[in-house]
């Protein structure tokens, strides 16, 4: 009888939590289908996709998504490129300054973005990368690269030491052992890192707001924040835009939930 009461309490808790965490989202979807003229009512009498039509047709929405996609993809590619070998070295090789590097990476990811905004702004302007999508990638590395290093070094550490040693004894240099033996086994870790870096890059706001000014270069978060109507805020349109903008993220989360969780806790559990 105790387990049944527990089961009920548990079910109630789950429902309450789901309501709190998903409720706003569900409400947003409903709002996006809400006809403009019925906003005064408690619930809409009919549903319309007018907001979606307006969002996708009227504004350069696809453009914004393409921008976010480009920046997120570029950041992910860059971080994987320079972070993978470094993650391996941090995990499996002995060298001076190893702990320092990991600590520095962690510290850097803790910097308040506002602290680096001013010099970065001036520097980007100096090299002509201000108001350029490519100019966002270096600042994004501030949080994306440390994350990459932490997740991948943790991941490589989980691969048995003896595998690396066997490769060495079989005649490999450290680099060769990395390429032929450890890297193929690191694919899941790379995938996890890519997902997390992508999500964080997509959601980034401050740098995108500060360094880009042309309307057609805006990324999705910035564009959504500046969505304003002529007189009052077009709530159904904002809702529609939100839904469309976050649909890929929701899909990513549901599909790769396990990887996301393992990535988030990778450095943490080893602490």
């Amino acid at each position: 009888m105790r387990s049944r009461g527990r089961g009920l309490g548990y079910a109630v808790a789950v429902v309450a939590l789901l309501t709190f965490f998903l409720g706003p989202f569900v409400w947003q979807v409903l709002t996006s289908l809400w006809p403009d003229d019925q906003l005064g009512r408690a619930l809409p009498r009919s549903l319309t996709v007018g907001a979606y039509a307006s969002v996708l047709g009227g504004r350069p929405f696809v453009r914004w998504i393409a921008n976010s996609l480009a920046v997120a993809a570029a950041t992910t590619a860059l971080c994987l490129l320079i972070g993978t070998a470094a993650g391996f070295a941090l995990a499996k090789l002995e060298f001076r300054g190893r702990r320092l590097l990991l600590g520095a990476a962690l510290a850097i990811s803790m910097f308040p973005p506002i602290a680096t905004v001013s010099p970065l702004y001036l520097a980007l302007r100096a090299v002509g990368l201000r108001d350029q999508l490519a100019g966002l990638v270096p600042p994004y590395a501030t949080f994306a690269l440390p994350m990459t290093l932490w997740i991948l070094s943790s991941f490589f550490r989980q691969l048995p030491d003896e595998l690396y040693q066997a490769a060495r004894v079989d005649g490999c240099t450290p680099l060769l052992a990395f390429r032929k033996v450890l890297l193929p086994l690191a694919a899941p870790g790379l995938f996890t890192t890519a997902i997390l870096v992508f999500i964080f890059s997509w959601n980034e706001f401050l740098y995108a707001l500060t360094f880009l000014s042309s309307p057609e270069k805006r990324t999705v978060p910035v564009a959504l924040s500046l969505l304003a109507g002529e007189h009052k805020e077009p709530w159904p349109e904002i809702a529609a835009a939100s839904v469309v903008a976050t649909l890929p993220l929701v899909a990513l989360t549901i599909l790769f939930q396990r990887r996301i969780v393992s990535g988030l806790t990778a450095g943490a559990v080893k602490g």
Binding site: P113, A245, T265
Partner: protein, 298 residues
């Protein structure tokens, strides 16, 4: 210190140098995009630099003296501190039950975790807009549920700051829960079984076994979330832009406005540097204070 090994020649030493080659690109990038800007910001903060007028002059520590007397700075600091304390407490208080529930889940565990992670995965801007709509004075669901109340959530200083706290908690509690869940999963089942056999009640088990063993995870969540909360920008910017009348303005927001709205890069840099120092101090204090608890629990 092991002597001899690094200074010898031979292929073994050459291979050891390969390690430096592998980490060099990462170190270079981090130095360029993180270390250099911090140094540069420090340098900037010692100047008066108005970008638009191309005006630039060295001031020494005048900016810092000004900051100490700047009432708006102290308000911003106060708002930030209050935001941090309340938000992080809420997130830990909510995250732990959430983690426990996720831990208990049998069927649909994966789906549950995914659904709960959605708030974390979406941009803060979207989250802020979501709640802004829910709290809309005229059409918002919350006001309707309160029987047609006419509360202007974002227009009232106290309410606005707490709204920002709710948005932050809504978005990041899942992250806290995930960290705590990892901690829970690290506790061996056998310990619970032994406690049951010893006759402990569920509450007793939670208090004497689960909570102490969760200390490292709790400490980690506390550290990460505190540092994140001190840096808050996105949510406040979108919800209130620091208003009404700077009553929800946080450090990052004040610095941003000084830099981008007023174009005052000198003082803006000063504010940025001070914000950085606050975060660094908090980090150091937490690491020291929690470090003890961490080592005990290991």
């Amino acid at each position: 210190m092991s002597r001899g090994a690094p200074s010898r020649g031979g292929s073994l030493a050459a291979e050891r140098r390969q390690a430096y080659l592998l980490v060099a690109p990462a170190v270079a990038v981090l130095a360029a995009v993180a270390l250099y800007p911090i140094g540069a910001a420090l340098w900037l903060s010692l100047h008066r630099h108005i970008v638009v007028f191309h005006e630039r002059s060295f001031l020494g520590f005048a900016n810092y003296r000004f900051l100490l007397a700047d009432a708006r700075f102290w308000s911003a600091l106060g708002h930030t501190a209050y935001f941090t304390v309340v938000a992080v407490s809420a997130e830990l208080a909510l995250g732990l039950p959430l983690a426990l529930i996720l831990h208990e889940a049998r069927r649909g565990r994966g789906l549950l975790r995914a659904l709960v992670l959605i708030p974390w995965a979406i941009p803060t801007v979207v989250a802020a807009k979501l709640w802004a709509w829910l709290l809309n004075p005229s059409y918002g669901l919350i006001n309707r549920l309160l029987g047609g109340a006419d509360i202007n959530w974002l227009g009232h200083p106290v309410l606005a700051l707490h709204t920002a706290i709710v948005v932050d908690a809504w978005k990041t509690t899942p992250f806290v829960a995930i960290l705590l869940l990892a901690g829970l999963q690290g506790i061996p089942e056998d310990i619970y079984r032994a406690a049951r056999v010893d006759g402990a009640s569920s509450f007793r088990i939670f208090r004497s076994i689960t909570l102490p063993l969760l200390r490292p995870a709790l400490a980690l969540a506390l550290l990460f979330r505190t540092l994140d909360a001190l840096r808050v920008f996105d949510a406040i910017y979108v919800l209130t832009e620091g208003g009404p009348a700077n009553t929800t303005e946080t450090l990052s927001l004040y610095a941003y406005k000084t830099l981008m709205r007023a174009g005052d890069f000198g003082y803006g840099a000063t504010l940025s540097v001070v914000t950085f120092l606050c975060v660094a101090l908090a980090a150091a204090a937490l690491v020291r204070g929690l470090g003890r608890g961490w080592e005990e629990a290991r």
